[in-house]
Symmetry: C3
Subunit: 362 residues, 3 copies
Amino acid sequence: MGPAKESLGGSFTLARVASAVGGRVAGNAALRLSGVRGLEEAGPSDLSWIADERWAREGRDSRAGALLVASEESASGKPAVVVRNPTLALATWLEVWRPSARPRPGISRKAHVHASARLGKGVSVAAGATVEGGAVIGARSVLCPGSFVGRGAVLGEDCYLHPNAAVLERCRIGARVILHAGAVVGSDGFGYVWDGERHRKIPQLGIARVEEDVEIGANAAIDRATLGETVIGRGTKIDNLVQIGHNVFVGEQSVLCGQAGIAGSARVGRRVTLAGQVGVSDHATIGDGVVATGQAGIVRGANVPAGTVVSGMPAAPHRDFMRSAAWVARLPDLARRVAGLEKRGGGAGEGETPWKSESPKS
Amino acid sequence: MGPAKESLGGSFTLARVASAVGGRVAGNAALRLSGVRGLEEAGPSDLSWIADERWAREGRDSRAGALLVASEESASGKPAVVVRNPTLALATWLEVWRPSARPRPGISRKAHVHASARLGKGVSVAAGATVEGGAVIGARSVLCPGSFVGRGAVLGEDCYLHPNAAVLERCRIGARVILHAGAVVGSDGFGYVWDGERHRKIPQLGIARVEEDVEIGANAAIDRATLGETVIGRGTKIDNLVQIGHNVFVGEQSVLCGQAGIAGSARVGRRVTLAGQVGVSDHATIGDGVVATGQAGIVRGANVPAGTVVSGMPAAPHRDFMRSAAWVARLPDLARRVAGLEKRGGGAGEGETPWKSESPKS
Amino acid sequence: MGPAKESLGGSFTLARVASAVGGRVAGNAALRLSGVRGLEEAGPSDLSWIADERWAREGRDSRAGALLVASEESASGKPAVVVRNPTLALATWLEVWRPSARPRPGISRKAHVHASARLGKGVSVAAGATVEGGAVIGARSVLCPGSFVGRGAVLGEDCYLHPNAAVLERCRIGARVILHAGAVVGSDGFGYVWDGERHRKIPQLGIARVEEDVEIGANAAIDRATLGETVIGRGTKIDNLVQIGHNVFVGEQSVLCGQAGIAGSARVGRRVTLAGQVGVSDHATIGDGVVATGQAGIVRGANVPAGTVVSGMPAAPHRDFMRSAAWVARLPDLARRVAGLEKRGGGAGEGETPWKSESPKS
């Protein structure tokens, strides 16, 4: 199979890029390019970008025909557009160059739309999509095949439900929210009570409320509250396969990376970053601006102070974690030294413990 | 967007709650309430509950109009219903107050039901749901849009398949089983054999058998056995995004929390709790009543004794894990002390190792 | 519910098995069997197999009527078929005995196939499946109910999309690729840039390219590239709920086990094994033949040398990890010994730190 083509938007001049991103051309403004690529893949007909001055060298050594840069120096003589934030300029240019194609408005005859549902202007509902009774779909929202909007659910304007994404009964979704394929909003919270013989289900009567400009990744799951609301704050971005339990509150503009999980009733602040596979236990509280690094485990009821960076399980300040991890790696040596001291001091020396060797697949 | 209303069931008196849950009213039995809320959100017109005597204080300080409590004392003078298990009473009351609305029975003309499928009385099959040849659907079961029941699969009575949930070919589902949106039962086990050049797929001819009263979370996946059966025992509750490999056996009344994973041929006992993101390796055995705390890793072939609480990777008894973790945090200090002893004892002192500082996002 | 029957392929003689797998009969070639089972479940009428000579004892003690074995000795007198690789022979025999039933070719009148899509010979598109404009479906490929092939996407020959699996716009899938239920290929990469007030989405214009003979597990998610391609190499097997970020490259014949996650722009070599719940951070590089054990965490930008086995977070060579883990378990003891030395040496002795006791559910 050949490589994919991105020259979807056709060719363009450096001048056009500069005007689109509000930048200044350094070099030949009439230079014509046909694609946009990262530094490694870029060729003479491609525009690329230097996200960070530290990569100026890679930029210079790349085969890119032109660069988006923060300073003329970092262009190292290549034709360039100088702009304050090259990555932001990249986003802007890609939107201009290749506007995302929305499907034609209209309700497919093969869609399943209940008579009591209210659809705004310019809504697109594909064949095989379902809108149940009393649901409200905001103007220009798009429902792809297999997507589902349950009874009494409310979607804002310009939402996009990718194939098989589901917003369940009574949940509320703000404007410009994107649900990627298979994402679920409003599944029952995981709530049971032991009655002496079995787990009795606690009815989950609350909802999930997703504020505007949120994006939810493929096959992610956000539970409805037992009572009240599970809340995802405005502008927060949620990656694929993330799990959010019932009654969780996530503040605005946070970033939850792939496979992170947040257990019931946890509170996550604004501008928080949970890296991949981070686990947040129930009733934990995470302050604004916290960064939890990959696979960190924040234990039940923990309270992570605003602005801190935490790592490990149980999560500790990142610096402490790294320092301890370095010593853990040197523990056998440290133990040897202790044994040596004991020998010299006449203490009861000890050798190393044998440990059960294990299958690498374990 | 305003908050969601839960007063779906209309207003009610404390007397009605008491009779529904088999409790005793303390205070004004005629007190009329309109909603049910947790202690933090509850207002004067809401019923709330004190799940645990330790929270009596929060109950007293709350704005709740009335409380479900285990003892009159813990109501601190508020109107209350006294009952042995307030959380159980909450579950009972929510069922009475707001019975879950099942869709009207009947087969949508837009459903895809094979002529050879056998559907019980009062079954509901929505538009866009599929029932393949030879499948059997028990009485009163509900198939939501996009849900799928494969060839020869058998569902018991009163099952509920939420949107896009799938029970694949020949799998067997007991009575009252709930599959949440996107849950998959019966995907192929992950079985291959290297033939010298490539991974040859081992046909997965077994099934997955899910016993009665099991609940399976959104986008969870349960593989069929290579041969024989993958079994989920009666009453076990499985949270969102849980992965269960082929030929796994899970006993009755266990609880598998969000994003836990169980690899092929592992055996999990009865009343086991796997907290969030726990990993169980293949061929491991987990005794009855074991609790594995968040992110614990149970290694290949391990045998966890019944009734133990384990933590960490590799999993160890929780107390030992916590003790070791406390010392890991103090390792730099311990190492300094060893270096000090060596200096005094004339041993070869050592400073700290520098460690590679790492990106918090890593 | 009774057990499932696997005698789907009807009864067979040992001679027939031998000829099918190219093996030699030891014992009664006319022996008639009716099923195939693992050693534990096998009965007198079942064929079983000894995957590894170490299990010869279990084979002898089993009730199996006959065995696939690598040497006559390991059959311990039972009727057997002797073959170089018994597990490979098992795979071959299961294919012969019970060939997988493909649905009848043809396009359901209830499928949603765009007029401009091009479908090869013998394609099967079920009711409720969608093929969008300009998509190409290779000969004999199967699209189950709820499966989706987006605009301009290309599928090779003999592909199989299980229920609700989705291949999004412009992505390219090689021949004989299997997507299990709910698997998603081509969701947007998780790319944003902070504009000072909010996360601006970086348009994800690239694709995901999945080469031939790849298998992708239930509810797994593979993101498209920002620009260029996310690549899954030929013959690689991906388990359920695995997450693959944008611009990731995975080499040929690798194995990614359940719930493993690979962050953006990471490079994974050929014949790599990532065990369950392994996390690979962005821009990490993993050499050919690397094995990462369960829950290992490979940090941002790390470079894991070819052929190594790594464990832990941050990932270290498996032997070192096991050695350190053994000492971590003995840290309280080591600390006591250091305190003892200090006392004898007149150093400032220290007791143990108390540690916050934690809920086992944390």
